[in-house]
Symmetry: C2
Subunit: 579 residues, 2 copies
């Protein structure tokens, strides 16, 4: 008798449910539900008033997540013609750190009328980049007090992470911080909504909240040094009970059963993170092979039996991906987003018309043109920092750079250059890992970009000088979540006892991969040296022009706000800064 | 009785004739004739075969210039209803250095069937940038032999100039060099066509061919050191008889009278250069006020009674603009071209549609949006080197740079940034002049950009911290040519004895100008410091990445050509390299 699990992957713009066969990982049905409010980065989605957001903010609406359960799970059951009794488990994965303040019963603060117009009451999406001052404080205090955990995170905590975002709430909206009974990853929050039971997972705790299996969270004295009101944050608003990957968080609650059509009590795995959950689904359950989940951003995961402090990485967590390994994570915050920015803001109408006439997506059209270029032929080089740099510089305040443009420069040349820049960024990460004891001989890519663009994959193989394989699944994170659902259900219920067992049965690679082409590698080696020089010059403090530009931008925007208010003779506009 | 003169201004894409009243400079009629073959930078305009041009080439068809005489002069006579007997003189100005090889009778080599398919037989336009190796040799030999004239040109000779272009012909097409009886500026060539008499003007000789009133041309030993075959170039293919500005080159020939409808013998002034001829037409006939002729590129001219070696400028020539002054010239090779590149290659279809719906030119549309931004608000900074840097770095191999981009960066922000970058480039020029004894307290702008864009002018005033006035004429170079035509005719014929007299009668400013706005100046001062730092880092040899990129681009293009030939099993494609 066939058994099934469901993996639900919460992305940046939508959530996706995949129903898979436990025996072989075969996808039976898939449903995608786009978030109604998407990424909220300009103004809150309120009908009755205008609340604008400052630069660098990125929020989400937690109700959009629940809609994914309500829509996509029934859809896959229906499409698959599967009896809910044959679904043995559910797993979810999420972007991270994506977090929100909630009441003790799990109600998001933004769902309360009194806080609905307060930006800090909403979900802070992973790419919310407005907590850099808080991240700077977190790092400065950690260095000053020689916190032992700092090395696990490459020596720098990102503004994207849990305590930077939490501290920003405290700094800018202390009444909201006080009103929040719980501060929680959205990943854990949706599992709570499914099961009725609050749980916390080791992956987000480890990678985003400075927790480790051996040492737990940082001390209260450290948090108190950041702000006295933060000293008790773990015990007051979080939990020290952290569940390992593949554990059962609980069973589907009666309420969630009504939403989803699943049977009450169906096993729900502890929450996971999109990149990390994809690792075993991409067949990576041992050392030496790096997984890259390539989408709007790229996440890199590599396993090692040993513990190595690698500077500038997102971090490593013992048992954070696969029990028994240290899971190392790195990231590039601007990949698919980068190409989309270009397509939306910088491609001339003539190209759009031609692509439309040929019935082609504009990305595909540009890639066709870009594929005719040879390495080096554009005469261009870029730093892929349109959304800051996550690894290895860990600095959200860096900006993008394009160099070498001429009056003959074409859109496809720039497009290819942006692709190459992200590949150089990947190479910096690989070389930094290897220089610190974590070898990488091959890459397994998954995600939309890897699926859709042979050009991009070949450039990555040529730039890194390493073979790129592709995960066979076109929904690798969702497959991984389904696999962890099977582990949560356990072997006795028709699932698996370990994630390795699940991977051997359910995960595979595509037949076709990408090998480096030696003559391209030679040109990219030379371009890479130039990339590294610019990377270090602008990224490591020798010339801080990017930060100066960012400060001037902020001052100009500030002058505009105050000038507007004065001109209108009114109180300052509502803004996210409420303190 | 009214007297008239005609000024003919030969631009990059078209020629323009203006008929003006000698008494007050009032324009009576204007006619523009676009060059049929425009700028030839991809392939020669041949019906019977394909001759592709390498990167950086820019040619023109000399017959296009003669068509301007045949079309535009009759048109202004007709439009103005003016009796040709009342036209006392003609002056012309041209882009420079724009040069060609011709036979002893003035026939361009490209008009001879045996040379028609040879790129080196055509006119090399000012922005032909493929002679950098020759310019490098010219500079190296000049330094090695301590040539006294080198300081007059800021210490560097540009690849755009006369001997770099001539030497490229010799290097790459020696048989064409041998076949050329004369090497001549297009400016002088069109005067030759008008008068039947070959003449050479002091302006192009001085600014583009290292000639000076005191020392003449460099010695034969210097030319011989560049290449023994070049030793006799002045006496063999040029002339030492250089005529001063405002002199009479000759009278309209019978042949030219038939083309133009002018009377034979009508005075024709010695040829002039667009920027230089505009100076008195913009009311600048003394020290302290700089003229900027803003079009596809910008030319800067400032006068001084004294002789000052200013590093990195295009050069200074005694009596080269106005007799009695040293005329200092600087240049920016990428201004209007810069904005046009952006509009053609990087503005999304949605903007094009909206501009079209509103019946607006896309530049005007972008400027409207860009005008809503405050200084610094884009968070961007650019180096305006899409077409190299003419002053003060004198390096055509530099490339453009854009820094600070984010995923929120908009087209209008980039557009504004490119405008600001050109204004920073102007400020570098002004500050370099002032640091070396040539003060500039005010700028008079003319040309299409100055006419059409209050935003651009205000940014220039704010960035430079100096008032910008506008020449009243919207065809300042053509007016200047007409003024020199009146001087060539002389006071006795109803013209003027000196160009100063002509300027006082015929030239004026617009009532409206642009004053620097102090709060904008403060922000731009800070951005300018960052600009200068990047300018010096990338432009003065500390990081030569732009040159590395250019070299790799050339190598990739070279690999492509050879690969194509091999693949086709044929002889290599025709190319401009004929040696």
């Amino acid at each position: 008798m066939a058994r099934y699990t469901i993996g639900v992957d919460f992305g940046t713009e939508s959530g996706r449910a995949v129903l898979v066969d436990v025996a072989d990982g075969r996808p039976v049905a898939t449903a995608v539900h786009p978030y109604a409010n998407g990424v909220i980065d300009a103004r809150l989605p309120l009908a009755d008033r205008e609340v604008r957001l400052p630069p660098d903010w990125a929020l989400q609406d937690p109700d959009d997540y629940l809609e994914v359960f309500r829509r996509a799970i029934p859809a896959v059951l229906r499409q698959g013609g599967v009896d809910p009794a044959d679904v043995i488990g559910v797993g979810i994965d999420f972007t991270a750190c994506t977090m929100l303040p909630v009441r003790a019963d799990g109600t998001p603060l933004c769902d309360l009328p009194e806080f609905r117009a307060s930006p800090h009451a909403w979900v802070k999406l992973w790419k919310h980049h407005a907590a850099q001052p808080e991240a700077d404080r977190i790092n400065a205090v950690a260095r000053a007090t020689s916190q032992p955990w700092l090395d696990r995170y490459g020596g720098r905590i990102s503004s994207e992470w849990f305590f930077a975002k939490s501290l920003q709430i405290l700094d800018e909206a202390p009444e909201l911080y006080a009103a929040a009974d719980r501060l929680i990853e959205a990943a854990d929050w949706v599992v709570w909504r499914l099961t009725g039971v609050e749980s916390r997972n080791a992956c987000t705790a480890g990678y985003k909240a400075m927790w480790s299996k051996r040492d737990g969270f940082p001390d209260a004295s450290y948090f108190g040094a950041l702000d006295p009101r933060l000293a008790g944050v773990i015990d007051q608003k979080m939990s020290r009970d952290i569940l390992g990957m593949g554990q059962r968080a609980g069973g589907i609650s009666a309420e969630a059963a009504a939403w989803t059509g699943l049977l009450p009590g169906t096993a729900v795995a502890v929450a996971n993170v999109d990149a990390h959950v994809a690792t075993p689904a991409a067949t990576v359950i041992d050392e030496g092979r790096m997984v890259m989940i390539m989408g709007t951003s790229t996440c890199h995961v590599v396993l090692s039996r040993g513990e190595h402090a690698v500077p500038g990485m997102c971090g490593y967590v013992e048992d954070g991906v696969i029990p028994g390994f240290f899971g190392y994570e790195a990231g590039q915050s601007c990949v698919g987003d980068h190409f989309s920015w270009f397509v939306e803001h910088a491609v001339p109408g003539a190209y759009e018309s031609e692509a439309r006439a040929r019935g082609m997506d504009l990305h595909v059209f540009l890639q066709e043109k870009a594929a005719r270029l040879r390495p080096g032929e554009s005469g261009l080089l870029a730093l892929d920092w349109w959304n800051g740099n996550r690894s290895v510089l860990v600095d959200a305040e860096l900006g993008g750079l394009l160099i070498g443009a001429t009056l003959a420069t074409t859109p496809e040349e720039i497009y290819r250059t942006l692709v190459e820049a992200t590949a150089f960024g990947t190479r910096v990460i690989i070389e930094t890992f290897e220089a610190h004891g974590v070898p990488i001989r091959e890459i397994v890519a998954c995600g939309g970009l890897a699926e859709k663009s042979p050009l991009i994959m070949q450039i990555y193989a040529d730039v890194t000088g390493r073979p790129f394989k592709l995960s066979a699944s076109d929904q690798t994170p969702a497959l991984g979540s389904a696999m962890f659902g099977a582990v949560a259900a356990g072997a006795g219920a028709g699932g698996y006892g370990t994630i390795e067992d699940a991977a051997r049965a359910m995960a595979r690679l595509k037949d076709h991969g990408y090998e480096p082409i030696p003559e391209n590698v030679a040109v990219y080696d030379e371009l890479y040296r130039e990339y590294v020089r610019l990377h270090d010059y602008f990224g490591r403090g020798e010339n801080d022009v990017m930060k100066t530009l960012r400060r001037l931008r902020g001052e100009a925007a500030g002058n505009r706000s105050s000038a507007t208010s004065v001109a209108a003779g009114e109180a300052p506009e509502p803004s996210a800064v409420e303190a």
